[in-house]
């Protein structure tokens, strides 16, 4: 069943044509990844989905209902939660307060969700009452993902979760993404680390200067000659 659908989405920054007709389908229970180099439009695609910017033409549908004119706070309410680029944790709030903010749309934080996050990220439990700004980069990434999970997402948008992390941490983060998915959350993953992304994802789209140039199963993309050359460094 198609959960999220982007149909021929065009988006602009002023006069700059950033997305030139993006069409993406994300099915229930999948991990779908968007890969591409800097400036290809990956983050813009996520911003457009989460309502931080609106497409000039085209449609975005969640469970068949259009959401392309919806405000960001209402998009969150509908079950699309983003863990934004650059982590953006609330650095003066404690870890727990950050997680509580994540549950903002539901009023109070659900203890089950909190336990789930602490099970996924035991490190956050240890640092519960520490200010988020004092966490290491990896811990902040965990917090950003945990915070997004507190919003009970139907679909979790992850923007560059591996950014600025050491290789061993990256592996950890990606295994947790798989775990989150196995627990029933659909994931749309934007990554520059194409190899890792294509390892965990079911399907992938390759974005280049605002257009989708390739879409296939992750396995086929990993084998694809042009992808190997351009994004896997071979």
């Amino acid at each position: 069943m198609t959960l999220l659908q982007l149909h021929d989405v065009h988006a602009y920054y002023g006069n700059i044509h950033a997305l030139k007709g993006i069409t993406i389908d994300v099915d229930q229970g999948e991990i779908v990844t968007l890969i591409g180099s800097n400036g290809a439009g990956k983050t813009t695609t996520l911003r457009t989905i989460s309502g931080l910017m609106h497409p000039r033409s085209g449609a975005i549908l969640l469970n068949g209902a259009r959401i392309d004119a919806t405000q960001p706070h209402d998009v969150t309410r509908l079950g699309i939660v983003q863990s934004p680029e650059g982590r953006r944790v609330f650095s003066r709030m404690t870890v727990l307060e950050n997680l509580e903010m994540g549950a903002f749309v539901h009023g109070k934080a659900d203890p089950n969700d909190l336990n789930r996050v602490f099970d996924l990220f035991p490190r956050l439990k240890e640092r519960e009452s520490q200010k988020a700004g004092t966490l290491s980069g990896g811990e902040q990434q965990m917090l950003a993902m945990g915070r997004a999970l507190m919003g009970k997402p139907q679909i979790l948008l992850l923007d560059e979760p591996s950014m600025g992390l050491s290789p061993i941490l990256v592996e950890g983060i990606f295994s947790i993404i798989q775990e989150i998915n196995a627990q029933g959350t659909t994931v749309l993953l934007v990554e520059q680390n194409a190899l890792m992304a294509l390892t965990v994802a079911n399907r992938g789209y390759v974005l280049q200067t605002g257009e989708i140039v390739l879409s296939d199963t992750a396995e086929n993309l990993r084998k694809d000659e042009s992808v190997r050359k351009a994004y896997l460094g071979e």
């Binding site: 800097n38 969150t76 520490q130 280049q208």
Partner: protein, 404 residues
């Protein structure tokens, strides 16, 4: 993976629930103590024949204003340079509803039950809040300097409007007299509010200050208060969490303005006079100085700032002028003999502001969060934050040389 991570400097559980309750109790105890000290001031004033009760009343109105502005500037992080506009709106609401000089009273538009102090006080609270929203709504897209400039304009427009709408507001003549509370009795003490009943006025203003303090504390510790913090820290992250940015900011404007409405209507009744000159730009700046000097974002710091600047403004400059003049006489220096220190108060406030910025930019009694913002090195926060800034900058850079 947990073991591979560098251990961040361990902060003790400063926010543990036990400690929160303990500090909460301590806070309330100190607060009650402070309130009782202020409540006893009229007796001290009488006992030692100080004769400063009237000044203390004005200072308490400043406290009310500073607490209100702190919601906008301190909690929500929106710089408002025209706060006196809401003070004016509160005062004129009280004046227009209760003064016999008011156009609305003369024309019989105001129902009899509304022409009294208490209902008018409530109405001015609401009216100021509504104007807070009216100003807030068009300015929400603006940030920082741009927002400050628009609020500055609003602060100029409102008193000028009251000055020029002569038919309604009596223009430069002002509104006088203004409604005041009728006499009531509590615990056998008769509270009358003639101009000579300074002690009763003082207690009334203090009571409204305390009421406002508890209301503001409630707001700050509520969901709304948490939302203000989130928006101040990171608007995009807050929006991603489902926070409605527009509504959050409008609430800050409305609530901030509403307490200026209280202050305005109280001062109108207290001085029995409403005049546009009482709401000039310098009033906005004075209140802002109190907030900055005391410690943006910490309500107790802000109260301390208001008391301190109020003390300078209403008491110290007046008290120091006679000794200065006699010193001038004794030394036969004309300038000192004739100089009136009250003329210098804005010089002193300006100096205080500059010194605060240089020596203690977070204010005298900062909130823990604000302090962290001004002294990142103490919080071991800067490193990560710089990294974060670096990450973001990297990402914002347009792609150089697309790889095919």
């Amino acid at each position: 993976m947990a073991s591979s991570m560098p251990t961040a400097p361990g902060e003790l559980a400063s926010g543990s629930i036990l400690q929160r309750i303990m500090s909460g109790r301590q806070e309330n105890l100190l607060l009650c103590l402070a309130i009782s000290v202020f409540a006893l001031y009229p007796l001290v004033d009488e006992l030692f024949d100080i004769g400063r009760l009237g000044s203390m009343g004005s200072i308490m109105i400043y406290v009310l204003l500073a607490m209100g502005l702190n919601i906008v500037v301190g909690y929500a992080g929106l710089l408002d340079l025209g706060y006196a506009a809401f003070f004016a709106i509160g005062a004129y609401t009280m004046g227009l509803l209760t003064s016999p000089k008011s156009f609305f009273i003369k024309e019989g538009y105001v129902p009899e039950w509304l022409q009294h102090f208490w209902p008018a006080l409530a109405v001015s609270w609401v009216v100021a809040a509504i104007f807070g929203v009216l100003l807030g709504a068009p300015t929400l897209r603006l940030r920082g300097d741009y927002l400050a400039i628009v609020t500055l304009g609003f602060g100029e427009i409102v008193p000028n409007f009251f000055l020029n709408a002569e038919k309604i507001t009596n223009g430069t003549l002002g509104l006088n007299p203004v409604g005041k509370p009728s006499t009531f009795t509590i615990f056998g003490h008769k509270f009358a509010f003639a101009p000579t009943d300074q002690d009763n006025w003082y207690w009334l203003i203090l009571a409204i200050c305390v009421l406002s303090l508890f209301m503001i504390r409630r707001f700050y510790n509520s969901r709304l208060g948490r939302t203000w913090q989130a928006v101040r820290e990171d608007e995009i992250a807050a929006a991603s969490m489902g926070v409605n940015l527009v509504r959050t900011k409008l609430w800050a404007f409305a609530l901030g303005a509403s307490f200026a409405g209280f202050a305005g209507s109280l001062s109108a009744a207290y001085f029995q006079y409403v005049h546009p000159a009482n709401f000039e730009f310098i009033v906005s700046i004075t209140i802002l100085s109190m907030v900055v000097l005391g410690g943006i974002g910490n309500i107790y710091g802000v109260i301390a700032g208001a008391l301190l600047i109020g003390f300078f403004d209403r008491i110290l400059t007046e008290e120091l002028t006679p000794p200065l003049n006699s010193l001038g006489d004794a030394l036969s220096i004309d300038f000192l003999a004739n100089h009136n220190l009250t003329q210098d108060k804005f010089l002193i406030f300006g100096l205080a502001l500059v010194l605060t910025m240089l020596l203690r930019p977070e204010g005298l009694f900062p909130s823990a969060r604000r302090k962290a913002e001004f002294h990142p090195e103490e919080d071991k926060i800067s490193e990560h934050e710089q990294q974060q800034m670096y990450d973001i900058r990297e990402m914002d850079e347009p792609a150089v040389g697309e790889r095919a």
